[in-house]
Symmetry: C2
Amino acid sequence: MSILRKDPLSDSWVIFSEERTIRPQLFIHPETRPPMPVASYCPFCPGHESDTPPEIRAHRPNGGQPNGPNWQIRTIPNKFAVLRVEEPLRRHGDGIYDSMEGVGAHEIIIETPNHDSDIVSYPLDHLVRVLAMYRERTADLTRDERLRYIQLFRNYGFAAGQAVSHPHSQLIALPIIPSSVQDVIRSVREHFDQKERCLLCDIVSQEIKDRSRLIFENDGFICVCPYAAKFPFEAHIYPKRHQAYFRAIADEELPQFAQALQIVLKALKNALADPPYNYILHFAPNYSGDQYEKLQKQIADEFHWYMEVIPRVTRLAGFEVGTGCFINPTLPEKAAAYLREMIASDPASQK
Amino acid sequence: MSILRKDPLSDSWVIFSEERTIRPQLFIHPETRPPMPVASYCPFCPGHESDTPPEIRAHRPNGGQPNGPNWQIRTIPNKFAVLRVEEPLRRHGDGIYDSMEGVGAHEIIIETPNHDSDIVSYPLDHLVRVLAMYRERTADLTRDERLRYIQLFRNYGFAAGQAVSHPHSQLIALPIIPSSVQDVIRSVREHFDQKERCLLCDIVSQEIKDRSRLIFENDGFICVCPYAAKFPFEAHIYPKRHQAYFRAIADEELPQFAQALQIVLKALKNALADPPYNYILHFAPNYSGDQYEKLQKQIADEFHWYMEVIPRVTRLAGFEVGTGCFINPTLPEKAAAYLREMIASDPASQK
């Protein structure tokens, strides 16, 4: 079972996951660790369904039994979950310290049966179904009133934390609102209080007008290198329509988002020679439950979901780790111009 | 010249350092990058003084000219500084965005003339002089009223961001207070407002009583694996006496701190097979200037400096990057017990 503990200095929660306890001898230096091996056995490949925990949801357009083959997309609980739904939510104090038991969820979305498939080459309608799975899983977990935040993310490449090479995304649902989300809530609330407008709606307007940081635009979405990107070639995707939760994305917006995502990932792949990356969906915290009705309405006005794509091509040194103040050697305007060139020179993006 | 830009979503500043601009082709994946090469030429070694910018301060116990050899410790401006003192502080607005020009300082403290020396083996009195140099440099930069925060840190090993293998520390002085420091200020202020006591003084008391997370203690300092450590084997060193700034460390406390630091670094080295690490000195922001007199007095009561030592033996994946919520596989009580064993089995620590 996991434990969450609150750091009294930074006021942020840390998850201690005993499922993952490793003896100190087993920590290997990141720099000497070999690239991810090509697995001779893959637990996510079709035929190995019984080696994973029973599936939560799957897409089987041609029929078939749960936990059998014939799936196109398959969502399972993470076998090495950092948090589990079955635990009761208990809070503890120890002098000045606070902890709680690790209630939550940790799911794996296996995006395709094809081990060697690359997300940038998925047929668009397949990527749409993967994104629809994101929408469904995040909507479903919202019903659990104990879960305050749901983080959906994808780790690609060893340096970005990918452990199994079969294409997959993950979601972790938490009983707390993480500190970086609280920072964003503070910002969007302050902006709304002052102007009665959504901060990200204002950012979208300014970026469309300015165009210097714009990478791509379609009817529903814009892709930009953000004004104060923490990482070189960091890219954000913003829905044009105000919506606080990814679960609110409309059916007709799904292919638009899939197109934007694929174009950005492909441009980064071409620009940076297939870099490791993380993408992360940021949306409003979960205030389900009657007692939070007012808060839920308020956050729906203030928050605007977005996706962050972070190529992991630099190391984090002591300064960044210590201050949370990042040093970026590449201005976003330069990165965006370069990515626009990548898109323009790719015949597949010209459609 | 550098530019600082504020991220409107997280309300944190990012430094764009054009001095370090790299073409996208030059980003190399962290996982495929070779370990740091043994330099055949080292700009920090004695005899190469003219290849660095002119020194700011040096320790030459046997005499000698500035920028000549015969030094034991040498502080120089970083040739590739992310911020420079000579720039005027100008602020700009661009629609909803804020930026300022990159005034600040970026210094390198070359800790020893011996290229192959290891900080855990420095004679104690030499490490004391290195720490006295930290104290002197941070005190000196405090006099510049434009500088709001001074971050002193050490990167050891490639994965921790070390670029030159000659032993050195760095400091970066900023015209802003970084977001992670603002988080700590919020926490210590809230605690002080409620209890009229320093939060870290309370933590020190509880850790000394509890002992389960204690690694080492002497008259002036305790070393612990903190209650909510973000990283496996993360260690903190706290002064027992309340002091907001490292520059306030007393002469008689310097050898106590040097001993604590060396014992912690040696224990980590033995426990984790010479891991890459960052150490970071956290102290109160700089409120010099008459208009801040009240704030300066207030923060001196609230803030308590500490050193954070972070072994870099895990990767940061999408979840941590996205949420700021860390997953730690090792409970600090277990890490502390292991480090105590390391210290107990090292004859040099038995003095």
